[in-house]
Structures are given as structure tokens and as C-alpha cells.
């Protein structure tokens, strides 16, 4: 304790001591705070019959950055007392979660402390922090960025990743904490910025390449765990006029882990996108193939723990409560995906465009499994067997096993000064057995629609009404469910939802909403989820109080979105930045 006080005092003294006039003048401080607090209540109606001694959950952070010219430093303090429902219990605790200091003069940038960065699209390296998910895989160590000439950037990173509150020093780490060291380098060359004659060319091109490795100790009694695992990626971006093309390929050597069931196969990933855009029209086609590309700095890591890389899902992100109940999550062991999105605005002043233009959007995305063929390994036919090469996979073959498909069409129209309508139709296929692990549960095949109408009462006040429906093709009232499988049918079947919001710009928003699972095959799950919310915003400060039942999903009220876990009770969110 005394040591800490001493440290704070010394820091303060240095701060004041260095208060030469010019230094102070250039000093700037900014930061932000957020506290999310929940009070939980019993609610037999939605099966919350025991709070397990947990009446409160509080997640909070405070962060301060200091900058002075080319120098900047910051800290982030976090408190989970205890963590809110739906967040990992390992977060429980209080402390200084993150700190950094950076010097960057344009030619060279050096950072020590906690590093967030990504190489290319993140297929071999990405560290980031997402507060609403309680996720943070920052790399504590050092980073050097060099920009030797226009358009060339070279980066190197070295460190150990954050694992909730686990200590970083080897001698302090617990016996079952096998986190390794992550090292990486990346180079990018943008030809247009680097070659003067190409500066204003219609043709654009940039290239990049990265290499990342982890050094881990082999603690396994059964398998030889490679102590160095390397992964490399190469990328290319091309553009000509309104056209753009980009691609990235990544390769990882054998990396047996809990996620891939300790097989010794190499990993591969390929992503590509092609887009065309001009005023009023934009289209993009994306394809992706990943095979055994989970890459963690601890081979026993589960879920999203200690991910070194990031495999981006390429489907549409829904924000309304019913479609966002079935959000696709990336399958780390392999998938093939494609997406097409088209945005078009019918011009102002035409018959269909009206006075304000009419905005249309179409999106289609589909994800299937990759094909896995059995191979001979040590004289045995194997498929996915621990300790073997696992399987062989034809790069271009697509499995018949479909994980997900989403076809949707959206129209957005300002009718006149006071009325605004937004509507969307969604056709959804969601393999709930694979994505959420409900063994044997039938696939969700549903039609979803919503209408969102805003009426401006006057310059400051407005009303918004949102009506949504979700209708499953197969599972609804009357569908036979065995008593033992009932749990897998929570949230299944047909839904209706409504929301009414009254806003007084720029400070206030009041809303009431209900979601009703009226068509659940199990009678006791035909529940209502009522909520009421009040939001007050003043400049960069937001206070939100809501009460009622919340099912899992993304909620947008008062103009801000975040994901929320299921609960019943009262939630208070206070956030500010300065």
C-alpha cells in the first residue's frame, strides 16, 4: 500500500516538477468513464427462480489519456463487482487493466504497455477490446512502427496477451496458465503514396505481408505440442476508378489445441472482396474460406480466450431485436462463406424517388461447412482424431452442411418533412445445433419482417413505432417436443415485438417495448418481455435507466446500440467522455 502511495506521489511530483510553462501548455488530458449496473430480481415467468446469491452486477471502467506533442500515455482502470450476468466470471475483480506510453514522430513510433493492433484484416494478428462483450486480448509488451518513406509501414510487436486478471510475469503465473509469448512483424507498401507518378493515378495498389509466431511451453502428457507455431499472411489491394478488389491469404503450421481437438493439420484462410460504387449505387461481393485457423496463445484456451487472430464473419449485422436473436458466430474449425450486398438510392425527383429519394438495400449471405475427408495416418483411417493429421480438405469443395443463410431486403424512405419509414424483410436459415450447440434441435428457418415509422411532431419532439414479427417455417405451436428436450426450445417458434419511443431532442428519450414468444411449441415459454427505458443525453454524457425483462440480443434505444444478456430487473448505464 505504502509503495503505491509513494508511486502516486512521485508521479504527481514529476508532473508538477516538469511544469515548465511550455510543457504545461502542450499538456492535454482526455478520457472517459462508463458504469453499467444491474439489479436482478426473481422472475418465475421466465424461469429465473434462483439468483444464486447474485443481486447486483456492476461493470465499470475509467480511462485517461495524456498527450504532449509526440508523446502520449494512458491508463484504463476496470471494476467488475461482480460482473453482470452474461459476462465471464473470471472478470470479477478490480484493478489497473491497461496502460501504455507511446512516442511517435511520424518516422518512428514506439509503444510500451498494452497494445491494440492488427495486421491486414486480422487473419494472423489482431488484438482489440470490446467493452459490451467483456472481451480484451491486448498484447502487453512493446511495438515499433517504422515509416521509412511515404507509403511504407513496417511494424513489429512482442508480448503476452491479457487473460482476464492473470499476472503477466512467468514466475507469478499459475501452474495451469500456459500462455505463450506472441511475436509478429508486418510490412505494407502503398504504391500510390510511394511513387510520385502514381499519386493521383486512377489505378491504386497496395501490398502487405505479415508473420506471427507464438512460443509456448509443452505441458501436455499425451501429445508433443510444438513450442513454436508460426503463421504468415499476404495481402493485395487493387483499385481502378469505381472498382476495388482486395484479398488476403493466411497459412498456419500445425497447432494442436483444445479447439481443433489436438489434430496436427496445418491451417489456411482466404478472403477476397470485389466492389463497385458510384454515386447512388454500391455493390460488394465477398468470399471466404477458413480451415483450422483458430490461433490462440494458449493451446488449452476455450471460447474466445487468448485469440491471436480474428476470423471476420462476413454476414449482415442486424440491429433490430428479433433478427438479432439469431446472429451468426464464426466457426473456428472451418467454413466457406459468401456475401453479396447492393445499396441503391432511387434519385430525388423521380416518380419512385419522390422529393427525398428512396434508399434500397439487398443483402444475401451464406455459410457452409468445408469438406473433410478421412485420410490414412500411421496406417489408420482417421477423421478429426486426436493426435492425427485429422483430415484432408479439398480447397474448393463446399460441404452440403449449411450453417447459415440470410437473404434480406430493406427500404428506407422519407415521405415528407414529418414522416419517415424504414422496413426490412429477412429470410433466415440458422443451424442452431452447430452454432449454439443445442444437439438435435431443428434448424431455425424463419421469415422476419419489421416496419419502423418515425413521426416528427415538431422540431424537437418525435415518435417512433417499431413493429416486428418472426415466423418459423417448421417449429411453432403444435410442434411435438419431448419433455427432456424442452430446454432446447426456449426462444423457438413465432415472435411478435413492438416498441414505442418518444424523444425530445437533444436530451430525452422514453420508450416502452414488448417481445412476445406467442408461438413457442412449449406452452410455458410463451412469455412476454416487457421493458421500459429512459435515456438522458447531455453532450458526451449519457444516463440510461431501464427496467423489465431482457432476452439476449442487441438493443438500440436513445440512438445507441449494445448487446445485452437475458435478465429481469433494473439496469443503469452512465457514461461520459471528456
Amino acid at each position: 500500500m505504502q509503495k503505491h502511495i509513494l508511486l502516486v506521489t512521485v508521479l504527481a511530483l514529476i508532473g508538477f516538477g516538469a511544469s515548465a510553462q511550455s510543457f504545461l501548455e502542450n499538456s492535454q488530458v482526455n478520457g472517459s468513464f462508463q458504469t453499467d449496473a444491474q439489479y436482478y430480481m426473481l422472475d418465475k415467468g421466465i424461469d429465473i427462480t434462483d439468483l444464486n446469491g447474485k443481486k447486483f452486477g456492476i461493470n465499470g471502467f475509467g480511462k485517461v489519456n495524456y498527450t504532449n506533442g509526440n508523446f502520449s500515455a494512458g491508463i484504463r482502470f476496470e471494476a467488475f463487482l461482480p460482473e453482470m450476468n452474461g459476462f465471464r466470471s473470471e472478470l470479477n475483480g478490480v484493478g489497473l487493466a491497461n496502460f501504455y506510453a507511446t512516442y511517435d514522430n511520424g518516422f518512428i513510433g514506439v509503444t510500451v504497455g498494452d497494445i491494440y493492433d492488427q495486421f491486414g484484416s486480422g487473419l494472423v494478428f489482431r488484438t482489440y477490446e470490446e467493452w459490451s462483450l467483456g472481451m480484451d486480448n491486448a498484447l502487453r509488451g512493446a511495438r515499433v512502427v517504422l515509416r521509412p518513406t511515404n507509403g511504407v509501414t513496417i511494424k513489429g510487436v512482442y508480448g503476452r496477451q491479457r487473460f482476464f486478471w492473470a499476472p503477466y510475469l512467468e514466475r507469478e503465473m499459475s501452474a495451469d496458465d500456459y500462455r505463450g509469448i506472441v511475436r509478429g512483424a508486418d510490412a505494407e507498401w502503398d504504391l500510390n503514396q510511394s511513387i510520385p507518378s502514381m499519386n493521383d493515378s486512377k489505378f491504386r495498389m497496395s501490398l502487405g505481408g505479415s508473420f506471427v509466431s507464438k512460443k509456448q511451453a509443452d505441458q501436455s502428457l499425451f501429445y508433443y505440442i510444438p513450442e513454436n507455431v508460426g503463421a504468415a499472411a499476404a495481402r493485395l489491394n487493387l483499385g481502378y476508378g469505381n472498382w476495388a478488389f482486395s484479398t488476403e491469404y493466411a497459412y498456419k503450421i500445425n497447432d494442436p489445441s483444445a479447439i481443433n481437438n489436438f489434430i496436427y493439420k496445418e491451417g489456411q484462410a482466404l478472403m477476397a472482396s470485389l466492389s463497385y460504387s458510384q454515386k447512388g449505387f454500391g455493390a460488394v461481393l465477398q468470399v471466404k474460406r477458413t480451415d483450422n485457423m483458430s490461433f490462440k496463445s494458449m493451446y488449452t484456451g476455450k471460447q474466445n480466450d487468448l485469440d491471436i487472430n480474428f476470423i471476420p464473419p462476413i454476414n449482415y449485422t442486424h440491429t433490430h431485436s428479433l433478427p438479432s436473436m439469431y446472429t451468426y458466430s464464426t466457426q473456428p474449425n472451418g467454413e466457406m462463406a459468401a456475401q453479396l450486398q447492393v445499396n441503391y438510392t432511387i434519385p430525388k425527383g423521380t416518380a419512385l424517388g419522390g422529393k427525398y429519394g428512396t434508399k434500397l438495400a439487398f443483402n444475401m449471405s451464406q455459410v457452409n461447412d468445408i469438406v473433410r475427408d478421412s485420410i490414412m495416418d500411421n496406417g489408420q483411417m482417421v477423421i478429426n482424431k486426436k493426435g492425427s493429421l485429422g483430415y484432408a480438405s479439398d480447397f474448393f469443395a463446399i460441404s452440403k452442411h449449411r450453417f447459415f443463410r440470410d437473404i434480406n431486403f430493406e427500404i428506407d424512405k422519407r415521405i415528407n418533412k414529418d414522416w419517415h419509414v424504414n422496413a426490412q424483410y429477412i429470410n433466415l436459415y440458422y443451424d442452431i445445433e452447430t452454432i449454439e450447440g443445442h444437439a438435435g434441435a431443428p434448424v431455425v428457418q424463419a421469415n422476419i419482417g419489421f416496419v419502423d415509422v418515425t413521426y416528427k411532431i415538431n422540431k424537437k419532439q418525435s415518435l417512433r413505432l417499431e413493429l416486428q414479427g418472426l415466423w418459423e417455417n417448421e417449429v411453432h405451436k403444435g410442434y411435438e417436443v419431448e419433455e427432456s428436450e424442452k430446454k432446447d426450445y426456449q426462444k423457438r417458434g413465432d415472435w411478435a415485438a413492438a416498441l414505442l419511443e418518444y424523444t425530445i431532442s437533444p436530451h430525452w428519450s422514453f420508450s416502452i417495448a414488448d417481445k412476445w414468444n406467442y408461438g413457442n411449441p412449449v406452452e410455458e415459454y410463451r412469455d412476454h418481455y416487457f421493458t421500459g427505458t429512459v435515456t438522458y443525453i447531455h453532450d458526451a454524457t449519457r444516463v440510461m435507466l431501464s427496467g423489465g425483462r431482457q432476452s439476449e440480443g442487441v438493443v438500440c434505444v436513445g440512438g445507441v446500440c449494445r448487446t445485452v444478456p437475458a435478465s429481469s430487473g433494473v439496469t443503469l448505464t452512465v457514461s461520459t467522455s471528456f
Binding site: Q28, S32, K279, V560
Partner: protein, 167 residues
């Protein structure tokens, strides 16, 4: 430990008060839609105000806000000379969609890509949409989080204040 916590919170609070003074834009480099580097600290609009909005293709209120801003943007430019930079915090999931979405919706703003959330962190943005107003000398003078229908009116009043001060 509790004392240390209290001390740290107090320190944070104190720095918060101190920081009410206007701050500069951070030294962060982003890319525009053509892949060109843009250093945020060096943004300038010849002494006229600059607006920076944070948004994402998956953020419904952000799309609403930008549709509304787009309807009035040309009038604002004519009256105040303001320039708007819309910073997309889309990560590699949806970076490729940003340009088609922006063009498809017909927005007239300058778009910057904050793929690694560097600017989002440096400017302490928690949730999009989040809007900053920068005066003619490059200082952040006002910010606002969230968007509700008609919210652009408040922004415009603030822009007018800054634009008038300059004259």
C-alpha cells in the same frame, strides 16, 4: 486495495475537471476510401469549423443520423463553410462494405476508415454515433453521443456559434 482504488478514482476525477480546457485532435493516422493516409492532427478547413462523426455500417442510429445530415449538409456548407468527416469504425468484418454503402446512400461527406479503432480509443468514443465539433484553431469545442430524431439541429446551433466566433 480499496484505498488505492479510491485514490485512483479521485485522480481520474481531478484530471477530468482539469481537462475541461479544449483539447487538440490526436496524432492518429487513418486511411481514406482511396487508401490514402490522413493524419487527424493535421486536419484543417482554413479556419472554418470541422465536424467529426463516428459511425459504422451496422449501427442503425448512425445511418439515420447521416441520412439526416446529408439532407442538410449542402446548406450548412454554404452558410458556415463547415466540413464533415465521417469516421467509420467498421472492422475487417465490414470494411469492404463501407464505400458501397456510402455511395449507395449518396452521402456527400469525406469518409475515413478507423479499422483498428485507433481514433475511437484516442478520442474516447464508447458507442457510436458520437459527434465532435472542432473550431477554426483545431480545438475540440463540443461533443455529443447518441442520435435522436432532430439531433442535427443542436449540432447546427453549435456550428453557428463556432462559425460566428471566427468572424
Amino acid at each position: 486495495m480499496k484505498k488505492l482504488t479510491a485514490l485512483l478514482l479521485l485522480a481520474l476525477f481531478a484530471t477530468g475537471l482539469y481537462a475541461q480546457s479544449k483539447t487538440d485532435l490526436p496524432n492518429v493516422t487513418l486511411k481514406d476510401l482511396n487508401g490514402k493516409d490522413v493524419n487527424i492532427a493535421k486536419l484543417s478547413n482554413n479556419g472554418k469549423p470541422i465536424v467529426i462523426t463516428f459511425w459504422a455500417t451496422w449501427c442503425a442510429p448512425c445511418i439515420k443520423e447521416h441520412n439526416a445530415l446529408n439532407d442538410v449538409y449542402q446548406d450548412w456548407v454554404d452558410e458556415t463553410g463547415v466540413k464533415l468527416y465521417a469516421v467509420s469504425i467498421d472492422d475487417s468484418r465490414s470494411t469492404a462494405k463501407v464505400k458501397p454503402v456510402v455511395e449507395g446512400k449518396g452521402w456527400d461527406f469525406d469518409i475515413l476508415l478507423d479499422v483498428n479503432s485507433d481514433l475511437k480509443r484516442a478520442m474516447n468514443v464508447s458507442n457510436p454515433p458520437h459527434t465532435f465539433l472542432i473550431d477554426g484553431s483545431g480545438k475540440i469545442v463540443w461533443q455529443h453521443t447518441g442520435y435522436v430524431e432532430g439531433g442535427e439541429e443542436e449540432l447546427y446551433e453549435e456550428i453557428l456559434k463556432v462559425a460566428k466566433k471566427k468572424k
